[in-house]
């Protein structure tokens, strides 16, 4: 049970960000779950390691919200896999997620990099 709680917490922690990362990955083309994990790891220079316990719930939730669609296809290595594709609705969502993300980064940045003189005055 504790393990489940841990997973659930992680989903919640990452939720907005993970959704945005998945949608962004799918912008480059349809991809299966394993491919998304690999793509995120490569692009982030091995920093972002997405847990499957977060990834698959997120994918299925995104599908339920109609931000992605899925279909079964053969991969290059002849492996049958479920490919996810971003929808028009998903693209809109990605844009708004990205906008929010940038505002947060900016806001956090302006808090973190305040010049000492200004804060004293």
């Amino acid at each position: 049970m504790s393990e489940e709680v841990q997973y659930k917490n992680r989903i919640e922690l990452l939720q907005g960000t993970l959704d945005m990362l998945i949608l962004q990955t799918l912008q480059w083309g349809p991809q299966h779950g394993y491919g998304i994990v690999q793509a995120l790891r490569l692009r982030s220079g091995d920093v972002l390691q997405v847990e499957t316990g977060s990834l698959y719930p997120a994918l299925h939730r995104l599908e339920r919200q109609s931000w992605v669609q899925s279909e079964w296809k053969q991969s290059e290595s002849k492996q049958k896999a479920r490919y996810y594709r971003i929808t028009a609705k998903g693209k809109k969502q990605l844009a708004s997620d990205l906008g929010r993300w940038e505002r947060i980064v900016e806001a956090i940045g302006s808090v973190m990099y305040v010049k000492p003189e200004e804060s004293e005055s």
Partner: protein, 877 residues
């Protein structure tokens, strides 16, 4: 998929498995490509992936279907728990099923009568029944043809207004004449009702008043099926009605039996099919039509009534002489239309439904008691589940689910039972001359009713006990030994409350049923003012079989002569009406010289009766004389009035020799009859005028015979005597008068039978309820009682301890129940006869009965407790 979430669930589970497999395969393939061995690659990929079932679980949560799987698990758990205590499960289910069935049965009767006033008609909610003038229980047809036509053509608020008039008719042409119920209807009758023909067509507008046309007839479905063997080529054929050839133009669809709620028409013709009723088609003072209108969309009943009232006032202003008396138009929805059976239904059935609802509440209280006791005995299990992490809502949900499972099973049983009980309604109506089509009906409304009541019952039974039980602190329960707490003081209060509720609910049921039963007895014992024990009546279809007036007159005289001469016959006479059969005839009566107030009602009941009628029924003639053979068409018209009419028209004067205008002719009063019952024993007496049968033959020809012995024994002799005159004469409804007059008390029988049954259920539930609770609580206190006895309490002390606790509850229950009953009996006061709504004898005996039964129920556990050996009692934990 969204609507049937379970559909495809297995497929999606399988797909998720495949998706994860693919993920692992690709991970392994990558690792192998990087040079790892197959085995290490597999292990590493699996490690990297993590806990597969867990991933599946959290992913499935995203589907929004997890609740379904959970529900399945919960239901299986609930079923397992219920199987563990079969005694409780069976008892509770059976009690709930009976209580739900009581409700659904009464509701199916309401559904079949009030909610389905005209089977087959479209949107009966838009139909309204028109009444002119005085409102009473079973009014006579209120409109003349010309008034009806003016209203139909001049109103602004109806899409259509139809009119009809019912009569008996004989279907001749076959070997034996067959009696059928026919309706003369306006041409738009079927259109306004929204009925489409099963075969052929219905009437055209131009056929309504065209006497030159060939007479057309529309057959009812069952008549077509039974008498004409469902002949598919019947349309266009000629059949014989009352010895007149008529052409069949259509067949009504199956199920449609006419516009009068609760009555059956067998066939339909136009208003003046033979062209020989010009008089009633052209006179505004001949009222004979029952009128139903269909409101325009969006028009309220009040607005429509205003509209018609305005039109009616114009008509009255134009023809004042034909519209003496009250002309106010009132509209009723069909479910309580005064024409047909629904007026009676609306007065009886909703009250019975209220009683049934009480029974259901009472049953819920009883089952809730059992449930609470059961949950208390399961408190260790609940505590363990709680300490394992189940939250309170989950516990409550699980317990409520058990109640829901019970009530769903009970509801299903009730549904099956109701299929049968809904059809028992017709049993309550004795054989009589009215073509009743009354019965319960099962449709989606009844099913919804059952579903709702079983769900509500399930909630009531389990929610409260579940909520209470989930309160128990887990640690305390697990630590403490079971005997030391009898479920906690909160549970004790709830148990007591439930017992009080059961007694308080059963008391009004018992009082009402007592009042109904005594009403029934009073009705049976009441003197109706006439002697009906040795009377046989037989209807002869003279008019309906198409005999001319002269032929009919001759036949009547012959019948009287022949039947009078039969051995065993004391008196034979003619009448066109039998009292207490719910049939009434009313007509306007204007005494000579009497000046009515404006809008004063001048209606009187009337009957055509032959010589020696009053003698045969032992109705005393207080003044003057009764009719004789000589009061025929050669002598001036004479009438006999009853005391009510005499007082109404000539207060303080001698009515003999006074003259009254009835049905168009001025008649002289020759006698005053003592008041007697017309329709109901408990009616407010209406003025009654008797007309000499030989001067104005009634529509019905009924031979009324006073016999020396059992009237039923004379049935064949009377039938033979009539058939000897003419073998083709239809004779029907030959039965003792007592059988016919049972009709007047059939509603009292329904009320008392159902109320009695409900009250019996209530009594059993209340008594078992209090027994169960007192026994249970005494059981829980065994240890304590043992200590008390060891410390010197006597057996009498123990007895008093247990009894007082039960009696205390009974007392509170009785007090609350009395208050409740006083409110409820006011509702049924109208239906009672010869007894007050708060009749002290009934109330006192019911209170005593319930009190005594409760005392008995408390005595057994008290007695058991008293007899315990204190040493074993203390040891028992």
């Amino acid at each position: 998929m969204k609507w049937f979430p379970s559909f495809g669930f297995q497929r999606r589970k399988r797909e998720l498995q495949e998706e994860i497999d693919a993920h692992l395969q690709m991970a392994i393939a990558d690792r192998v490509a990087r040079g790892e061995t197959a085995e290490t690659a597999r292990q590493a990929a699996a490690r990297e992936f993590g806990n597969i079932p867990l991933v599946q679980d959290v992913t499935r949560d995203m589907w929004g279907q997890a609740w379904l799987e959970q529900l399945g698990r919960d239901i299986r758990y609930a079923l397992r728990q219920l199987r563990k205590s079969p005694g409780f499960s069976i008892t509770a289910t059976a009690m709930l099923a009976v209580a739900i069935c009581a409700n659904s049965t009464v509701f199916s009767w309401i559904d079949g009568t009030m909610l389905r006033p005209i089977p087959g008609a479209r949107d009966t909610g838009d139909l309204v029944s028109l009444q002119r003038g005085e409102r009473n229980f079973s009014p006579t047809p209120p409109f003349s043809y010309l008034d009806y036509r003016d209203l139909r053509e001049q109103n602004h608020t109806f899409t259509g207004i139809l009119a009809y008039h019912n009569d008996w008719i004989a279907l001749t042409g076959g070997a034996q004449p067959e009696r059928a119920y026919i309706a003369n209807v306006s041409a738009n009758y079927f259109d306004v009702l929204g009925i489409k023909p099963a075969l052929g067509r219905f009437f055209l507008a131009e056929e309504e008043t065209r006497p030159d046309a060939v007479t057309n007839v529309v057959l009812g479905y069952s008549l077509w099926k039974n008498r004409y063997a469902a002949d598919p080529a019947i349309v266009g054929k000629s059949i014989e009605i009352a010895r007149h050839p008529v052409t069949v133009i259509g067949v009504a669809p199956e199920g449609f039996v006419g516009a009068a709620p609760g009555l059956r028409d067998d066939l339909w013709v136009t208003l003046d099919p033979l062209g020989n009723d010009v008089f009633r088609m052209t006179h505004r003072d001949i009222v004979w039509l029952i009128v139903i209108g269909r409101l325009r969309p969006g028009v309220s009943r009040g607005l429509a009534a205003q509209d018609l009232d305005t039109q009616m006032r114009h008509i009255v202003a134009a023809y004042p002489d034909q519209h003496l008396g009250d002309n106010q138009i009132t509209l009723d929805p069909m479910w309580r239309s005064p024409f047909g059976a629904n007026g009676y239904m609306a007065a009886t059935l909703p009250i019975l439904l209220a009683f049934a609802a009480l029974v259901l509440l009472l049953t819920c209280a009883n089952v809730a008691t059992l449930t609470l006791v059961r949950f208390v005995s399961r408190r260790r299990e609940l505590a363990i589940r709680q300490s394992l992490g189940a939250n309170r809502m989950q516990l409550v949900w699980q317990m409520v689910l058990e109640g829901a499972v019970l009530s769903i099973v009970a509801g299903t049983m009730a549904l099956a039972l109701t299929m049968w009980t809904s059809k028992t309604f017709a049993w309550f109506f004795p054989a009589n001359s009215t073509p009743l089509a009354l019965n319960g009906y099962m449709d989606y409304k009844v099913v919804i009713g059952i579903a709702v009541s079983s769900l509500v019952a399930g909630m009531l039974c389990s929610a409260l006990p579940a909520w209470r039980s989930s309160h128990a602190p887990a640690i305390e329960v697990l630590k403490a030994e079971s005997a030391s707490v009898s479920g906690g003081s909160r549970n004790r209060k709830l148990l007591s409350g439930l017992v009080v509720a059961q007694i308080a609910l059963s008391l009004p049921l018992l009082i009402c049923s007592g009042l109904f039963l005594r009403t029934l007895r009073n009705l049976a014992a009441a003197n109706p003012g006439f002697q009906q024990d040795h009377i046989l009546t037989a209807s002869v279809g003279l008019n309906i079989a198409g005999y001319s007036n002269d032929e009919a007159r001759l036949i009547r005289h012959k019948i009287l002569d022949r039947v009078s001469a039969l051995p065993g016959v004391e008196v034979a006479t003619l009448t066109d009406w039998i009292p207490m059969t719910l049939i009434q005839k009313r007509t306007d009566a204007y005494p000579e010289g009497y000046v009515p107030h404006p809008h004063e009602s001048l209606l009187v009941e009337n009957a055509e009766v032959g010589p020696r009628y009053f003698e045969s029924l032992h109705i005393p003639i207080l003044e003057g004389r009764e009719f004789t053979q000589d009061d025929d068409q050669k002598t001036p018209d004479v009438i006999i009035v009853d005391q009510t009419a005499a007082r109404r028209f000539w207060p303080g004067q001698d009515p003999l020799g006074k003259r009254l205008r009835v049905g168009g002719s001025l008649s002289t009063v020759v006698g005053v009859a003592r008041i007697s019952t017309h329709t109901f024993v408990n009616e407010a007496p209406e003025p009654m005028v008797f007309i000499s049968y030989f001067q104005h033959p009634g529509f019905e020809t009924m031979v009324q015979v006073k016999t020396e012995g059992n009237p039923a024994d004379l049935t064949p002799a009377v039938e033979n005597a009539i058939h000897e005159i003419d073998a083709r004469l239809p004779v029907f409804d030959v039965r003792p008068m007592r059988a016919s007059t049972q009709m007047a008390s059939s509603f009292a029988v329904i009320q008392s039978a159902l109320a009695g049954m409900f009250a019996l259920i209530g009594l059993v539930l209340a008594v078992t309820g209090i027994y169960g609770v007192v026994a249970y609580r005494t059981q829980m206190r065994t240890h304590e009682i043992g200590i008390r006895m060891a410390l010197g309490a006597s057996r009498v002390d123990v007895l008093r301890l247990v009894l007082s606790q039960g009696l205390w509850l009974t007392g509170i229950g009785l007090a609350l129940g009395l208050a409740f009953a006083l409110g409820l009996t006011r509702l049924i006061a109208r239906l009672l006869y010869g007894i007050g709504a708060n009749d002290p004898v009934t109330v006192a005996s019911v209170v005593m009965l319930l009190g005594a039964m409760s005392l008995l129920a408390c005595y057994f556990p008290a007695h058991r407790a008293m007899r315990r050996n204190p040493v074993t009692a203390i040891r028992e934990l």
